[in-house]
Assembly symmetry: C2
């Protein structure tokens, strides 16, 4: 079968557009409405998406302007995805969990548990935490510096995947007659002693249906790319042009060989912000409806976060983007892109804030299903993407538009599945089930 | 309405009897079978139980004998309960989370999330960790000493409940027209700085349907009772006789006044191990079926755990219980009870191990529904219990027996509900919804 592209549905409560919650079609209390998320997951599954994807932060946004954003009241992703596992059958369930403020034993256990609950559909988006608000909730004054974050993340990954291999797939014999519940030769004590963690093991969960949940990452810095090349199976990335995306794709795939990995073992899925209309002008109008709802101060606050946790509220809204130091956050590449954009188009702070209010620095497509499919196909067939993480301005409407318009167009072109290939997220993504390191 | 008793269903994968998994009626792979847990929760809900209750440990049991017990492969309780929230409507969902190896922000967030998912049915069983196997999974050589565990637990509780009050109940106005998502005057930053934790807040979850999930505890030591008197709303306890249970009940209720609490604000629910039969001899035979399946070494290993994490494998099976130092674990009162029992009846180590293989030191009732209801009624009406945590030898059979036999008998006597009183766990337990400390 010809190579087909993969699709993730990136679900942020009310949608990816910062002003989505103010739109009349959007339930403003979406963040804590399970029936709503069930509806979203079922739309995505009916459209044969590979996975739903949840970002996360272990802090509420601070500052007065946060009171004008729909970002402070959400389900914790692992509890939400456990519940969603019951009302879906095929779609992958990817949750973010930070390596900076967690313990690897808990993370290993929860994702293994979700993988069992869902029959093999769990994915872990491994991130590092880059803002002070999170640090302050976990007994630290400041977040870890970039290098330490990545060193900790690398070791965290090693421990988690080691714990996932605690038990061989056939360790649990459960022989009622003899009384042997498991074969002691098939349990492996990790006994990890490292720079950041000491974890004995074994995990108290059997090896899960996928062997290991799928590892997802989003780092674009040098350290992020190197960690991804070593450990990630899906990479979510923000790329604004075909040329940039091709360079990123070639660079990351080129790093796999040093770890003995094939190009196929890592799927690169750039984010794409899509606004679908029956005509291009209808799509453009739809987009403008959201843009009109952006308060300048809210756009600028989001911009500060996108640039790397800067407070820009003290600068004039109609003035230029002030010169900023290179961020120590995970947003270095986005900072570079946005700074270039502001200079190239001579945008004021408010204009730049409004510009990123929907796509947040991701590749943005506003048009008909055919126009959007053309672009996705171009990226997919020209070495820029193995698939896409789909960001829609508002939910559930934007996802319904994509499912009804763009998905059938991709299917008509033979670029996207019409039925799920397998039962597990790995099978649908075309990723091998990892062997147990101890066998 | 007359006072009625409360019932919790204590669910351990295959049942409370250590040899349950070997019984022909028990699915041996229950620990990781979601359909099985769904069935259990639905049996308990149909019988109008207040809650299902899950114990937990953040370690797999170690040593070769662990391979002969069904204790190493379970769902993590919060992921499991999140999934169960979708397939139940009324029953409370109580999960254990240790204060020794968790961060309060995570615990606050996950239980608040579960409370939202379930429409107000979450309960947190707050425990301290008392065994080395758990410590070794979290970078420590040894578990915390008793006093430090409790000091940490007390502060942990303070932080978690403080985070649950981060938002006033009506903080999220979500006014689309004005753009105000929440009222900044109604968010409260905890800014906790204590001996064990520094946590800023606010939580990134709105105040939950119950205001705060129900706080459950099981400590029986002096420090445990004092913590319970100050903070618990349900106490689960092991009591072996009416007199002991009455003394415990009077002691604990008597401590509430010093914290300005009413006797009704804390429900005491002793564990009761029940084997139900149509006749007493049938119940006795049923029990003996399980007893016959106990390997002496397995019973003794369980005994070591019940006495406080001692390795008894080096002592002769047919010899007496060796003298043991007072445990530093949470099992001090159980150690005392079992040591007295062994002396009184001159039991060998193997006999004592077999004796605790089912009830594990809890009040045990083996008989007809009428006989069992008589005993429960006596405890309930004579100052020994507000309800019971029901432990059955095997699942699902033992729970079905209780639901079909004992529950209707209790209902006939007017001692137990026939319909749920409310929508939340608090409402069913008769516990007030706590006000917000910041208001």
């Amino acid at each position: 079968m010809a190579r087909q592209l993969k699709l993730g549905a990136f679900l942020m409560a009310t949608g990816h557009h910062i002003a989505a919650w103010r739109h009349p079609d959007v339930p403003a209390n979406a963040g804590l409405d399970f029936a709503y998320y069930k509806h979203l997951a079922q739309i995505a599954e009916a459209a044969r998406f590979d996975a739903v994807f949840f970002a996360d932060s272990v802090a509420a946004p601070s500052g007065d302007i946060a009171s004008r954003m729909a970002r402070s009241d959400h389900f914790e992703p692992l509890t939400l995805l456990s519940a969603l596992s019951v009302v879906t059958e095929h779609i992958g369930l990817i949750a973010t969990a930070t390596t900076s403020y967690n313990e690897p034993y808990h993370v290993a256990r929860k994702f293994a548990s979700l993988d069992h609950l869902s029959g093999g559909r769990a994915g872990w988006n491994l991130v590092t935490s880059d803002n002070a608000a999170e640090a302050l909730n976990f007994g630290r004054e400041q977040h870890f510096a970039h290098a330490e974050r990545y060193s900790r993340a690398r070791e965290f990954h090693q421990v988690v995947t080691g714990l996932w291999d605690s038990w061989e797939d056939d360790a649990f014999v459960r022989d009622k007659a003899s009384g042997a519940y498991y074969d002691p030769a098939k349990v492996h004590v990790l006994d990890h002693v490292g720079e950041h963690f000491q974890v004995k093991g074994p995990l108290n969960v059997a090896r899960s249906p996928q062997g290991q949940p799928v590892i997802v990452q989003a780092g674009s810095s040098e350290a992020g790319r190197q960690l991804a090349a070593q450990t990630a199976e899906v990479v979510f990335t923000a790329q604004t042009s075909l040329a940039h995306a091709q360079a990123f794709y070639a660079d990351l795939k080129g790093r796999l060989n040093q770890y003995g990995r094939s190009a196929d073992s890592l799927k690169i899925m750039p984010g794409v912000f899509v606004v679908v209309g029956d005509t291009q002008s209808q799509a453009r109008e739809k987009y403008e409806t959201f843009q009109q709802l952006v308060e300048p101060e809210v756009g600028v606050a989001l911009l500060g976060r996108m640039l790397g946790n800067f407070d820009l509220s003290k600068y004039p809204l109609d003035g230029p983007l002030p010169p900023l130091p290179l961020t120590d956050s995970g947003q270095q590449s986005r900072q570079k892109l946005l700074t270039e954009l502001a200079g190239r188009e001579a945008l004021s702070l408010a204009e730049l804030g409004r510009r990123i209010a929907g796509g947040r620095g991701h590749f943005s497509l506003i048009g008909t299903p055919v126009q959007i499919a053309d672009q996705l196909q171009e990226w997919f067939e020209h070495g820029a993407a193995d698939g896409f993480n789909v960001l829609v301005p508002h939910l559930p409407g934007g996802l319904e538009d994509f499912a009804k318009g763009v998905v059938p167009e991709l299917q008509r072109r033979g670029l996207f599945r019409t039925e799920y290939e397998g039962r597990t997220l790995r099978q649908n993504l075309g990723l091998a089930r990892p062997g147990n390191r101890f066998v």
